[in-house]
């Protein structure tokens, strides 16, 4: 009895102590936005938090890059040492939420009205089991063409509206002695382009069935075969030296006018901005032909971990600041993406950004906002990587025909499920 009492007292005083303890005025953040533009964009958030009195502490990641960061995060979480928040992508958030290590931001979300302003498709990744576990920072979309305007004028091209138009345009560039299509031959870049090809070939319904629902009938359909054939057509327009090239080098080819067009997500715009190029006068941004009206997205999220009570205040401040309209605008203007909430004014954005925001809003309302399979928003990483394998092997010739590609795609996805 006495012992129980003692324990009870000890517990009560412990709880009281915890409640009275000073909140830790510090945000521990794991991220890999360390390069020029991204770091500058993140500085906006640091300053917003500093105004409220919260210090910012980066969790160091050796080696840089998303993979290294995710490995570091895994180790931290396994050791029970959660950061306040971590930059995360797609299914990773859900994996960690399923493991029960994520915090709960539902109250903040209610107060700030995130349910209404954040597109429903995004909430699939930021809400787990009815609880808000992550704050989306931006929305990237991958079905874009980035075109050098000077080259376009030289060859007398116009905006391609269909896939056949696009092929005709590439032919024109080829005839003029310019590399028609700038592509980096790494599996994620090839698969990112293929996302757009499938959306263009099969239409929005087909894309959703095949790449979000992983419907086997769609995956092995003739439409998918046609998509692979179309991809093979596109690959004939790249330069022979494309294999292994980094995406930003491919973008540089378009910026310099060595190549006409790159199919890439809107992070490519950051490269154009950094080179002081102006949309409309130096470069053009069109939706991938035949995909206007749909948006294939991926999104950076700040996953919020289940931190101790004394760190919760800092976490809520971070989440609120992340989804504030001012930060969403300031950050995404620099990053090249569009805000993760649809009610942010587009005044500060350039022409491409304005189009991106309008498209996102329309796609959200029209139900044509789909997760990119190549970017890990269509299916879990095992499936997404199996998909990238197949696409890359097809591009590089290990898989020789579209028939074989479709068979491989079905069995690889089945294996990885």
């Amino acid at each position: 009895m006495l012992r129980k009492l003692l324990i009870g007292t000890a517990l009560a005083s412990g709880v009281a102590f915890a409640a009275h303890a000073e909140d830790v005025k510090e945000v521990q953040m794991l991220h890999w936005w360390t390069s020029g533009g991204e770091a500058a964009a993140l500085n906006v958030l640091k300053q917003d938090l500093a105004k409220e009195g919260f210090a910012w502490k980066d969790v160091p990641v050796a080696g840089g890059g998303g993979d290294a960061a995710m490995t570091a995060l895994k180790a931290m979480v396994a050791a029970g040492n959660y950061p306040t928040a971590s930059q995360m992508l797609g299914y990773t958030v859900l994996d960690y939420a399923a493991a029960g290590v994520m915090g709960d931001l539902t109250e903040t979300a209610k107060k700030e009205g995130w349910d209404k302003s954040v597109p429903a498709a995004l909430q699939k990744f930021s809400v787990y089991d009815g609880k808000w576990v992550a704050a989306p920072v931006n929305v990237h979309s991958v079905n874009w063409l980035w075109i050098n305007k000077a080259v376009m004028d030289k060859i007398g091209g116009t905006e391609p509206k269909t896939f056949d138009d696009f092929i005709a345009l590439l032919d024109k560039a080829k005839a003029a002695g310019v590399i028609p299509l700038a592509l980096g031959g790494q599996n994620w870049q090839e698969a990112t382009m293929f996302d757009s090809v499938v959306l263009s070939t099969g239409g929005p319904e087909f894309y959703k069935k095949a790449f979000n629902d992983l419907d086997e009938e769609s995956l092995k359909s003739d439409t998918m075969k046609k998509s692979f054939d179309n991809l093979a057509k596109l690959v004939t327009y790249v330069d022979p030296n494309f294999s292994g090239r980094d995406w930003n080098l491919a973008t540089a080819m378009v910026i310099k006018g060595d190549a006409l067009v790159q199919v890439m997500g809107d992070w490519a715009k950051g490269e154009f901005n950094a080179a002081k190029k102006v949309p409309g006068t130096d470069f053009l941004c069109y939706r991938f032909p035949g995909t206007d009206g749909s948006v294939v997205y991926n999104s950076d999220m700040f996953g919020m971990f289940n931190v101790p009570e004394d760190r919760k205040a800092a976490q809520i401040a971070l989440a609120t600041a992340t989804l504030s309209k001012s930060f969403q605008s300031a950050f995404n203007v620099v990053k090249g993406s569009v805000p993760a909430r649809t009610d942010v004014p587009d005044t500060d954005f350039d022409a491409c950004g304005k189009k991106g925001m309008a498209d996102l809003k329309a796609a959200n309302e029209g139900g044509t906002l789909f997760g990119s399979l190549a970017q890990g928003y269509g299916a879990p990483p095992a499936v997404a990587n199996a998909y990238k394998d197949v696409v890359s092997k097809f591009v590089h010739g290990q898989i020789k025909t579209s028939d074989e590609a479709v068979t491989q795609l079905v069995s690889a996805i089945e294996d990885a499920k």
Partner: protein, 319 residues
């Protein structure tokens, strides 16, 4: 350890059987064990413990995080099936065939080239002191540096091919690094460049250790230079071959970073080695069980090769 024990025994009678001495002798007895204990414990836990842990995980259904319920050898079954998927090649098939090609060529070329360079350098040539570090220096670089440098050098649009085109040899064509069938050989080139100098230094040390009298005797008997090396020098270098082989074999098995830096995996993943496969599946694809199973297979393969070799080499020693 036995020497310490013997010393304490001879010391004790001189000082008489005082209790202090026994404590001291016991301490002396135990000291090597005590000093070795921390590193022993660390090795047991972090090497052998984690080997067992990996084996355990390979029989579970672990995905992103380890899960502890044993679900059977499904991961091995998948790897087994992938082993025979050669057309189109599965990633595992590519990895193990690449390991065979890379391991064989890397080890044999390094040994041959290292021995050849060492024999040349051993001809009492002038400037040896300068030449030796030039060959040895690549070993001081990390695989990442080697990989990036060779990546630029072999890139048809930047390096060798481009330069020769500018010099007027426009028909020159060398695009192995962009070619799915040849990319693994570029890894061999870069790897050999890095390690052969070190192997040369090992052989050179061995050559210097050979007794000149034997060679003179052979020459008097009328042996040609070729016979001299074939029958006497190379057999005498056998222990060096053992050391070199072990160094090279473990470098070959762990050359993950070279593949990443040089080829970023190669076109369509055609440059993968099993270590790349393991990392990809464990950390990027969240298939920890498959990753662990591939690690176990790597371990068993190297054990199967190294252990019989070590056994046969070391058993003959006390002759």
């Amino acid at each position: 350890m036995s020497t310490v024990a013997e010393t304490s025994i001879t010391l004790t009678p001189e000082h008489g059987a005082r209790p202090g001495a026994t404590v001291r002798s016991r301490l002396q007895d135990a000291l090597p064990k005590l000093v070795l204990a921390p590193s022993f414990a660390a090795t047991v836990v972090f090497v052998y413990g984690f080997i067992l842990w990996t084996i355990y995980l390979s029989f579970t259904n672990s995905k992103t995080f380890p899960s502890y319920a044993i679900t059977g050898p499904r991961a091995y079954q998948r790897l087994w099936r992938w082993t025979f998927e050669s057309d189109p090649p599965s990633s595992w098939y590519t990895s193990i065939t690449n390991m065979g090609i890379f391991g064989f060529l890397y080890i044999s070329i390094c040994l041959a080239l290292g021995l050849f360079l060492a024999i040349l350098l051993d001809q009492k040539i002038r400037g040896e002191g300068m030449l030796r570090p030039i060959y040895l220096y690549p070993m001081a670089l990390s695989f990442i540096v080697t990989g990036v440098a060779w990546k630029w050098f072999l890139d048809p649009g930047l390096g060798l091919e481009q330069t020769l085109h500018q010099w007027g040899w426009t028909s020159f064509h060398f695009d192995w690094i962009k070619n799915k069938d040849f990319v693994i050989y570029t890894v061999v080139i870069a790897g050999v460049w890095q390690a052969s100098g070190f192997i040369m230094a090992m052989f050179l040390a061995g050559l210097r250790g050979i007794d000149g009298e034997i060679l003179k005797a052979a020459q008097i008997d009328g042996a040609t230079t070729f016979q001299l090396y074939r029958r006497i020098v190379i057999p005498l270098l056998r222990p060096i071959f053992l050391s070199a082989l072990i160094v090279l074999a473990h470098l070959a098995i762990k050359s993950y970073d070279l593949v990443v830096a040089l080829t970023s995996g190669g076109p369509g993943g055609s440059a993968w080695l099993p270590s790349n496969f393991m990392y990809e599946y464990t950390f990027k694809r969240n298939e920890m069980a498959v990753g662990s199973a591939s690690a176990v297979i790597m371990l068993m393969t190297i054990t199967a090769i190294i252990v019989p070799y070590l056994y046969s080499e070391l058993r003959e020693k006390p002759r």
